[in-house]
Amino acid sequence: MKKMTYREAARSALRDALRGDPRVFLMGEDVGRYGGAFAVSHGLLDEFGPDRVRDTPLSESTFVGAGIGAALGGMRPIVEVMTVNFSLLALDQIVNNAATLRHMSGGQFSVPLVVRMATGGGRQLAAQHSHSLEGWYAHIPGIKVVTPATAADARGLLLAALRDPDPVFVFEHAFLYPSEGEVDEAAGPAEIGRALVRRPGRDLTVVTYGGCLPKALEAADTLATDGIETEVIDLRTLRPLDTATILASVAKTHRALVVDEGWRTGSFAAEVMARIVEGGFYDLDAPVQRVCSAEVPLPYAKHMEDAALPQAATIAAAAHALLRRDG
């Protein structure tokens, strides 16, 4: 085990992949000379050279499309799109090509493509760089969506994405890059589609992922001082969703709160709530609740950005409301 940042853990997975498989290459805006907009690929150009760490023009549709083509041709491309907001320019390539080709070819082709991008707010990067749109991607059959929340998962889920025969989208939360955690560099890939209970508890279940996990854990610490034992589930993968782990927890706690940095309306949280109601209705002792981002383009000003995003205090307040008794 080694202490490293989320950023270093992602880099460690990239380095292992580039060393271990000659078919792997990295491309995207500023991934080479600049070392990546979030410095994830810092140093990789020097080690692996310009053929395998390629800077691209500002043309998301083009380089994601090139990645799909390379994957079809037998390579194992890792495409970095700077932020999820910019990935919308490549949505046609993703939805109409990457996600469909296996199905439309009757299984003759596969697209073993990995696309990494930063998501989420909290760094005062304003509305065009800070949104959490991974829930939209989770809507699309044919791709997988992973959302590492810890340094170990930043490495383990990226390695798993590279092993997968189908397109996998890795959403790295921008706020988490400097966070530190224990990483076992000898450990292999994590399991895609498997949620984890990050903290056991018996009074309520908080279901979350990505950048909201540390906030949910902080809220659980606060709630514990009031005698409330919170079970915190880290989804880790949004598609395919590990419904069984969620329902098993709700069957134990009988109360659920979903925390998601996406906007409330049509949020990924809404999907999780629907699964709980479909499969766990008779286990519920209170209505399922959620904490999401305010329905505004994310503000730049720090106090306003903080107010718009889920925070540990708002999560704890929602948990208290869920457990409120009037008798």
């Binding site: 009988h254 209705f281 008779y282 286990d283 519920l284 002792d285 209170a286 409301a321 409120r324 008794r325 009037d326 008798g327």
Partner: protein, 376 residues
């Protein structure tokens, strides 16, 4: 005034336990409404009412076991003749129905398990909602009462076994059975069914059993004396063809609830009704009319791979038709021997009511109907 009595839900049922009232005094009821739940050896049965009016008075409290025929409640019937109706009294309009009690899904489930009416529990959750904890407190505070009924009693298998024993012993003692068997070529029926199922959405596909049931139901129109009940000294033909379908229960035992008017239902409707009936037979929730109405029984051991079954008539019915598995056998068609899917149909019938000649007409009618499956 009409009396609502403990119904007879099986040939040998002598008493039943009233488990719960679904309607309260003052509630309107219409013919066919389920107004009470009764526990019998066949499990929990939803009992329907045959009068329309207002539930005037409840005479038997939940938990009581009473003989069949006991008056359970009084219903003030609607006037059947407008002229005879009393002038409308100047009454205050009925109070709006009370809001549905706020009970969490978990509390509702738990209350049912421990036999507590959750609407009587004091709710302490947000907004006064009844929570699991409230039901647990109410259950702990309850004075243990031997008469308290279990809310969803498990089917008592030893009692069910006794009931089957009593009914079958009576049948074999009183009914002079005769038995017929006839092997039917199923080539046309299975071919047609394959084509029909390819056309239907997966959820609407038909099982061949439903063709057999429909063929029996239609065949009975030609031999109506087999669609009847024996009333001690005479036979009473039934206007409707209500086919009792023998359904084995997972823990052992069986029930044979009715598919009402099976001769008049299109195959798709009959299939849905059969699925629904099978599910409810296994989970509880059969209706009283389904247990008391069958006019003939159809049993099949085809799924078990058995070739023929000779059933015992279930009194007061007068006949039971059995089907085995569809098996491929060498068969002569137009002078040539070839493999052919065939099924053995059997009839066990009450000789007091019909003779072998008439019984044979039913089986040959079933055979003829199965040769034009598209008309079923």
């Amino acid at each position: 005034m009409a009396e609502f009595v403990m119904p007879i839900l099986g040939a040998d049922m002598t008493a039943g336990t009233l488990v719960a009232w679904r309607k309260q005094p003052g509630d309107r009821v219409t013919r066919g409404d389920v107004i009470a739940e009764v526990e019998t050896e066949k499990g929990l049965i939803d009992v329907e009412v045959f009068a329309a009016g207002v539930l005037e008075r409840i005479l038997v409290a939940p938990g009581a076991t009473v003989p069949t025929g006991t008056v359970l409640a009084i219903i003030r019937e609607d006037a059947t003749d407008g002229a005879a109706a009393p002038p409308a009294p100047s009454v205050t309009p009925p109070a709006p129905p009370p809001a549905r009690a706020r009970v969490s899904p978990l509390a509702r489930k738990l209350a049912a398990q421990v036999g507590i009416d959750p609407t009587t529990v004091h709710g302490t959750g947000a907004g006064g909602v009844v929570t699991r904890e409230d039901v647990e407190h109410a259950a702990a505070a309850r004075v243990p009462s031997p008469a308290a009924p279990p809310a969803r009693p498990a089917i008592d298998l030893s009692r069910m076994r006794q009931t089957i024993a009593a009914a079958m012993t009576r049948a074999k003692r009183e009914i002079p059975h005769y038995y017929l068997a006839h092997t039917i070529d199923m080539h046309r029926a299975t071919t047609w069914l394959a084509g029909e199922n390819a056309r239907r959405p997966v959820t609407d596909r038909l099982l061949y059993g439903v063709l057999l049931i429909k063929a029996v139901a239609l065949g009975l129109r030609e031999v109506p004396e087999l669609n009847a009940r024996w009333r001690g000294d005479r036979v009473e033909a039934s206007a409707g063809v209500h086919v009792g379908v023998a359904i084995s229960l997972r823990g052992g035992g069986l029930v044979a609830p009715a598919l009402h008017d099976a001769d008049r239902q299109p195959l798709g409707d009959l299939m849905r009704a059969l699925r629904d009936l099978t599910q409810r037979a296994r989970t509880g929730g059969l209706r009283s009319s389904e247990l008391s109405d069958p006019t003939i029984t159809v049993t099949s051991l085809g799924e078990r791979g058995i070739e023929s079954v000779f059933g015992i008539v279930y009194p007061p019915q007068v006949a039971i038709v059995g089907f085995g598995a569809i098996v491929t056998r060498p068969w002569v068609v137009d002078g040539m021997i070839g493999p052919r899917p065939v099924v053995t149909a059997t009839l066990s019938a009450d000789h007091r009511v019909s003779d072998g000649h008439r019984g044979g007409l039913l089986l040959t009618a079933v055979e003829r109907l199965l040769q034009s499956p598209e008309t079923l």
